[in-house]
């Protein structure tokens, strides 16, 4: 399939992890989507950036630590891009070195330009 024929879909992750199920079920969807050879990107904005924070330890919660899965999303599950909004990181006192995996940090304008290319958004 040529790049032009691929459908561009962006997950827009705006929820912090654990407070609700959105992050967990968004990841499950991302993992499945990767197998279909489309152009899938994931963007973390607002509280969504907390999902990528290093050092999450859910042992006392008794729940799975899904932040670990982000480390392999691109290489193993064919997610094409992981974007994080720079302003949302800064507002929360975070920077790139606080994140669990390598991502593309974009400012709002640059991320908005990526959004303009999308065919569909899946907000979580």
């Amino acid at each position: 399939m040529s790049e032009q024929e691929k459908t561009k879909v962006m997950f827009v992750c705006r929820s912090a992890p654990y407070g609700n199920i959105f992050e967990q079920e968004a990841i499950e969807a991302m993992i499945m989507f990767g197998a279909y050879e489309q152009d899938i990107s994931v963007s973390f904005i607002d509280d969504g950036v907390y999902s990528l924070k290093k050092g999450q330890d859910t042992s006392l919660l008794g729940k799975k630590n899904f932040s670990l899965t982000y480390m392999i999303l691109k290489d193993d599950f064919e997610i094409n891009h992981i974007y994080v909004e720079k302003e949302s990181l800064e507002e929360r006192g975070l920077n790139e070195s606080d994140l669990i995996t390598e991502v593309e940090v974009l400012d709002r304008n640059a991320l908005r330009e990526k959004m303009d290319e999308m065919k569909a958004f899946l907000p979580f």
């Binding site: 827009v12 705006r14 904005i45 607002d46 302003e87 709002r108 908005r112 959004m115 303009d116 999308m118 065919k119 569909a120 958004f121 907000p123």
Partner: protein, 99 residues
């Protein structure tokens, strides 16, 4: 892009978050509890008036009516639309729901 906001601005940052991404020609559509943003005299009146300078703002009439808000209580230049109008807006621009 069509930015759809369904949460009350008094309980959620969805309105503010969406406005950070609004660009020229984008449309803002307020539905469900999001319609409270468009009430005259509320805390968000000035913010919405600012948006109206550059963008069209719509409110879903079913949600406005259900919440006891009269047309006259809606900020000037915010337009009321029904579900068919909603469908038309989605045809015009790619929707993103800000929940």
């Amino acid at each position: 892009m069509l930015h759809i906001v369904k949460r009350s601005p008094y309980e959620s940052s969805a309105l503010n978050d969406s406005l950070k991404y609004i660009k020229e020609k984008d449309i803002l559509l307020l539905i469900e509890d999001g319609v409270y943003s468009a009430k005259k005299g509320g805390k968000f009146e000035n913010l919405l008036k600012g948006v109206l300078q550059n963008n069209e703002v719509f409110c879903l009439i079913a949600d406005v009516k259900a919440r006891g808000i009269e047309g006259s209580e809606i900020i000037e230049n915010v337009k009321l639309i029904d579900y068919k109008g909603f469908v038309d807006k989605v045809c015009e621009q790619n929707p993103l729901m800000w929940a």
